[in-house]
């Protein structure tokens, strides 16, 4: 099909430093320019990588949590080898509403990959290996000898039964850090209840029940659009892996067994839910786009969308209403005159939150996001509109700092992507490449690490160890 005409990114040019810091005194711009000089991503390649001595085998498939975890490590410099089943991880096929035209095509082979898988294939090598074959498992053992970290997500006990679990691999390589990732856990009473992909974890930990509007407001439990528990769980797994690396290097010289689940990572960050329940039996309720514990701290409708306004303490409270009062003095008067809104803590009662946001809405309905932000920013109040992806991609601050950038791939052409937030002075995270066709690195990895010969490749391909049986090509 014909490629649709899309304006090149960025549609609006990226600001220059003199434009950003125009009108500031030398003193005022000295510190931000210093920070810029030590953390700008353009300078990444002048600096070393923190984890360049580590090799990671990411053997996870059909699940995002492991890919996210290994991305954290590969962005920081580890050599991550993505071990995929012959034919590739089925996640490669995912594309919104099944539309093939939204997939990215390898220029050479025509192989397609979905945007989500591509977005996490950063700095990773791709090899194919069929772990369901005896020989595939033997090869995995050999790869494990050369690795610091193995990540897997098989059904509970599967790898152990196959003879390539932690108990067996640690005999081959005592320095190995072995990490299992999943939705609810490989042991415990729910271990045999199958999970796989988020939002299984989101639903199992209290997150979905707590997200969205209350029923009285027409709401229902709501999942995140993202497989967010996989992202948080993957980050937690990366934290455990790096702690194990530090301990191995400093103290023990040995690896260990790590388990991280998407659900438990969210349970960890569901703030006070558990303490609150244990005190008085309260169930964390849905509270829509308001906050149970802070007023003003919410997103509400405004003239052209949705607007966040925040100010949890008195100083900001009065500044917000002064801003509103400039246009609607009656609203400011009403709020300041209400005795139940005088104390910070009294404003948290539900009725008071309803009143606060109803009155704020009187002002927001006449103000588009940019106007509301401009007026509130003058008073140093934290505020901003809910941005959609097209706005995120073009947001001047994000473009200037490189939160969003374009990578020109030798395989897939230009790809817009979200960059690593690991900015740093000495060893920043970075993108070296984005995306690899399935098994692209078979030759490199198997020759370099295991000394495979041409004969080995032919045999393994024909016996279905590295390639699907019907495939002929090497």
């Amino acid at each position: 099909m014909a490629t649709p005409k899309v304006a090149p990114w960025p549609a609006i040019p990226i600001l220059k430093p003199d434009e950003v810091y125009a009108g500031l005194s030398d003193q005022a711009k000295e510190y931000p320019l210093f920070l810029e000089s030590i953390t700008r991503q353009e300078k990444n390649f002048e600096k070393p990588e923190a984890l360049s001595r580590l090799r990671v085998l990411d053997c996870t498939t059909r699940m995002m949590i492991g890919h996210w975890c290994s991305s954290m490590l590969s962005e920081l410099g580890a050599e991550v080898i993505q071990v995929e089943p012959p034919g590739g991880d089925p996640l490669r096929q995912n594309t919104p509403f099944g539309r093939k035209e939204y997939m990215f095509q390898d220029k050479e082979t025509g192989e397609e990959v979905g945007g989500q898988f591509l977005h996490e294939m950063r700095n990773k090598l791709s090899v194919t290996l069929n772990l369901e074959t005896e020989e595939g498992r033997e090869i995995l053992k050999k790869l494990a000898v050369h690795s610091d970290v193995v990540i897997e997500n098989g059904p509970p006990g599967q790898w152990d039964a196959w003879g390539i679990g932690y108990r067996q691999l640690r005999e081959i390589n005592p320095r190995l850090i072995y990490c299992w990732v999943g939705q609810r856990g490989q042991w415990g009473s729910l271990k045999d209840k199958p999970g796989r992909l988020d939002p299984v974890a989101q639903a199992a930990c209290g997150f979905v029940h707590g997200t969205g509007d209350p029923k009285e407001f027409g709401g229902q439990p709501t999942r995140s659009a993202l497989w967010v528990a996989d992202h948080v769980g993957g980050t937690a797994a990366a934290m455990g892996i790096l702690a194990a690396v530090v301990y191995r290097e400093n103290v023990s010289g040995e690896g260990q067994f790590i388990e991280a689940t998407a659900a438990e990572a969210i349970i960890r960050i569901l703030d006070y839910s558990w303490g609150w329940y244990s005190m008085d039996g309260s169930i964390r309720p849905r509270y829509g786009n308001w906050d149970l514990a802070i007023n003003i701290y919410a997103v509400n409708p405004c003239k052209d969308g949705y607007m966040m306004v925040g100010g949890g303490h008195d100083r900001l409270w009065y500044r917000i209403w002064r801003t509103v009062g400039d246009e609607q003095p009656a609203v400011e008067e009403d709020i300041l005159g209400d005795p139940h809104l005088r104390e910070v803590t009294e404003r948290l009662a539900h009725d008071m939150q309803v009143k606060t946001y109803t009155m704020l809405g009187e002002w927001l309905k006449d103000n588009p996001r940019s106007e509301a932000e401009r007026k509130l920013s003058k008073q140093q109040v934290a505020s901003g509109g809910v941005l959609y992806v097209n706005e995120v991609a073009e947001y001047p601050h994000f473009k200037y700092r490189g939160h969003v950038a374009e990578y020109d791939s030798p395989h897939y052409g230009k790809i817009l992507y979200g960059t690593t937030p690991f900015l740093q002075h000495k060893t920043p995270g970075r993108l070296k490449w984005l995306g690899r066709p399935t098994g692209y690195d078979n030759q490199d990895v198997y020759r370099r690490l295991l000394g495979f010969t041409r004969d080995d490749f032919t045999r393994l391909s024909e016996t279905g160890v590295t390639h699907e049986e019907e495939e002929e090509e090497l």
Partner: protein
């Protein structure tokens, strides 16, 4: 674990092995991964504190420095202004500690220092000289102005890993903007995509947790651990890390940016369904699981996630639910996944579930071996044997505040398990010990500085 027992362990079933290896009650019999590392946490709210607390779970000595007397703002934040932790503090006699503080500061030592004053800054410098990590989340440049920023502290201690965390980052056109978690979600992009579909009357929805904060802190902890590894293994040098929470959110938008960049298409909300897999969505079950309850949270209908996106799973789902019509029409995933198909499939499932509770639906699907997960509320999670035996949620005998249900660390480790020691302490509870030990303050100094409200 000693090598010689390995053979014996091998005969153990995998499940038994895991239960023993990851038993959180045995954590205190094992060493800590970050023992000997000292972290100074000059942080408030959630983003910075949570980052330091993840290191405290791993055994680092984390010293939190708060503003004297009332301490940081989250101590005074609690849902609907109702639950508070007691005992009362000397400085806030009318009220206890708000629950907003809970979960973001476990295992830490609590000191209080006024950063504005010269004497306070001198204390910070003395502590920083003996620390490995320095975490702060004040407005960019504030600590630099006070003489305790990266540029000054790296002169005192070149091995220091200085981590700054904040909303928009310390440079660029938006550097002066204040930020909170909810603003990070709003502007980073995940907020606008979450929530019911536009054409079904939905609106963007906030993630209920302070996600950009708590998860952002985790991201920054990953970055800090990598920096420590590089320092100890390779360079001997500290560094400066900058974590912007809004940047983190933009990083996790999955296919949204590649899709927009290539086709100019803006990813929109798709409610409780999934844009890439079908069936893989949450549906309403018509009946409440607790019709007798007086709590509206329990009176409402149940919800359940059903996941049967492979063709053979979907065929089994159709058999279970009983509609041969749809089985043929939507036999293939690439047909099922289309928007129009989803709009027929999910209402069909909801119709089937209309006279059932979520537990009844789960039982039927379990029998057919179809992936499902009832949407559990926090009470159901807190009482679930699975989470309790794994220690994801556990009872804590807190030395200061008594019995509390508390979340465990986010992951498990066999040899150096992260652990929970205490939930929190009052402001300045460890002043005497820490400031005496590390900054050389005498009893007389401590008394004087406390009177002057400098600590």
């Amino acid at each position: 674990m000693a090598r010689e027992t390995a053979a014996a362990k091998q005969t153990q079933s995998f499940d038994e092995y895991c239960r023993e290896t990851f038993d959180f009650k045995k954590a205190f019999g094992k060493p800590e991964a970050l023992k000997g590392y000292r972290v100074l946490s000059c942080t408030q709210y959630i983003l910075g504190p949570s980052c330091a607390s993840y290191l405290a779970e791993l055994g680092a000595e984390v010293i939190k420095i708060e503003a004297p007397r009332r301490g940081e703002a989250m101590r005074h934040t609690t849902p609907f202004n109702e639950p508070f932790l007691y005992p009362l503090s000397r400085w806030v006699p009318e009220r206890g500690t708000g629950l907003g503080f809970l979960g973001a500061n476990p295992n830490e030592y609590f000191t209080s220092v006024d950063f504005h004053r010269k004497e306070g800054q001198d204390i910070v410098k003395k502590l920083a000289a003996k620390s490995d990590v320095f975490v702060e989340n004040y407005r960019p440049g504030t600590f630099d102005r006070w003489g305790i920023g990266y540029r000054q502290l790296k002169e005192i201690n070149p091995r220091l890993v200085y981590a700054w965390l904040g909303g928009f980052g310390g440079w660029g056109p938006g550097r002066v903007r204040a930020s909170y978690d909810i603003l990070g979600q709003s502007q980073g992009g995940n907020f606008g995509m979450t929530g019911k579909q536009e054409f079904l009357g939905g609106a963007p929805a906030k993630h209920t947790i302070w996600l950009a904060d708590y998860w952002g802190g985790m991201m920054a902890a990953v970055q800090i651990l990598a920096a420590l590894y590089w320092r100890d293994k390779i360079s001997g040098e500290g560094t400066f890390t900058e974590y912007s929470q809004v940047h983190g959110v933009t990083r996790q938008l999955e296919y949204a940016l590649p899709l927009y960049g290539r086709h100019g298409i803006t990813r929109e909300r798709w409610g409780n369904w999934d844009t890439q897999l079908c069936v893989h969505g949450i549906i309403k079950c018509g009946k409440s699981s607790y019709p007798q309850s007086e709590n509206p949270q329990e009176q409402e209908e149940g919800y359940i996630l059903i996941s049967a996106y492979d063709d053979k799973d979907f065929a089994r789902l159709c058999q279970t639910v009983g509609d041969g019509n749809l089985a043929g029409k939507y036999a293939k995933q690439d047909i099922r996944i289309q928007a129009k198909s989803q709009m027929e499939i999910y209402p069909w499932l909801e119709k089937w579930a209309a006279n059932k509770t979520k537990e009844e639906v789960a039982a039927i699907l379990d029998k057919a071996n179809i992936i499902n997960q009832p949407v559990w509320n926090s009470k159901e999670v807190a009482n679930n044997p699975h989470w309790l035996e794994r220690g994801a949620v556990r009872w804590l005998d807190d030395p200061t505040y008594g019995d509390l249900l508390h979340q465990g660390p986010a992951y498990m480790m066999s040899e150096t398990p992260p652990r929970l020691k205490w939930a929190l302490k009052p402001v300045g509870a460890d002043n005497e010990e820490i400031l005496g030990k590390l900054a050389g303050l005498s009893a007389e100094d401590l008394r004087r500085l406390e009177e002057q409200e400098c600590i």
